[in-house]
Symmetry: C2
Subunit: 210 residues, 2 copies
């Protein structure tokens, strides 16, 4: 399916300060989010499944794809638009096989090698980073900078979404380094006004393309 990586928001209950994910996601979409990833490592999976179904009722009518982090089975069970896998998750080739050609399979890549392999294994897009230093993901590793992103951009042809420490201020650097869009957690879901925070980053991405 077609998708737009411009502003890809990733849920996090702690960063969202336990505000309902449905409210946060709805506000992010009103602000301009073009893609949503359900990521919830704290709640029991059965609750995540229920949350996913409620989020689909918000993202679907908005035409915004809902991607499930890690769990291809949850994505299939709830009829989500895709799955995103990291280097330790389900192999990209297995995720692709399970989801078929029409759903979206995204993969994380922090190096050129990982990116080339994920593309060869069938990823539809790559989440590349951490581009900037970040506190949202403890396991994100050293920042690769816009230069690292540009090296990966040169090595693959699938679209790239930049992740890691993205703000409205530095998003243009990521776009100019070759990313189709930016993925954010804290910069949107950590904000008091989620809609406004999403809007500022969406505008920064748009401006950087001109």
């Amino acid at each position: 399916m077609r998708f737009d990586l411009s502003l890809y928001v990733i849920t996090d209950r702690a960063i969202g300060r336990d505000r309902p994910l449905e409210d946060l996601v709805a506000a992010a979409i009103r602000g301009g989010a073009t893609m949503v990833q359900l990521r919830d490592k704290t709640r029991p999976l059965r609750d995540v499944v229920a949350t996913g179904r409620r989020l689909l009722a918000i993202t679907g009518p908005a035409g915004v794809p809902l991607i499930v982090n890690d769990r291809a089975d949850v994505a299939l069970a709830i009829g989500a638009d895709g799955v995103h896998v990291g280097p330790d998750d389900l192999p990209v080739s297995d995720a692709r096989h399970l989801l078929g050609p029409d759903r979206i399979v995204g993969a994380s890549a922090g190096t050129v090698d990982e990116a080339v392999r994920a593309e060869a294994d069938g990823a539809d897009y790559l989440g590349v980073g951490s581009v900037f230093p970040t506190s949202s993901k403890a396991d994100a590793g050293e920042a690769i900078g816009p230069e690292g992103l540009a090296r990966i951009r040169a090595a693959v042809s699938v679209p790239i979404v930049a992740i890691g420490g993205i703000t409205a201020d530095n998003a243009p650097e990521a776009i100019r380094a070759g990313a189709q869009g930016v993925a954010v957690i804290a910069a949107v879901f950590g904000a008091d006004d989620v809609r406004e925070a999403a809007h500022r980053i969406a505008e920064a991405v748009r401006a950087a393309r001109e």
Copy 2:
């Protein structure tokens, strides 16, 4: 598919003292294990997937079903025989839908209500317990005893495998309370001689049926 719950062994790397799961499972099958569950919450999922594929090369030729704990996507990806879900995992109805009618869906049940619901939602068997006090699973709750197992037995018609604190000595009680078989972790994979430990329990189950 048809399956035999007589001796259902569940992997655990810590209890197995980090001996290779392939060796432990092969020994358990030589001792009489009739069903194997891959349960590994410590390794990255990508490694679990690889382990699962190796285990299938052992269980398949032996005619012993391999069931994957929790992850329906892994079960489908590697072509395992089924999935086992607990109360916090993927809903039974979703697991059934994903796996189709021919693969095995097992569910944990600690109460009559949970058992009735899991059966209604399409479970092929129920893992009922903890029947006896156990140290293998920190979240197993209070032991329900053979009496609790008998109450659940009376309320459902799907086969039941008793779990929780099972040994060769108390396995007959579980069978006489109505279980078709027993599920074990520590009593088999904690043993120095896994084949011999499995053999003793398999014999105890067989004797209890006569």
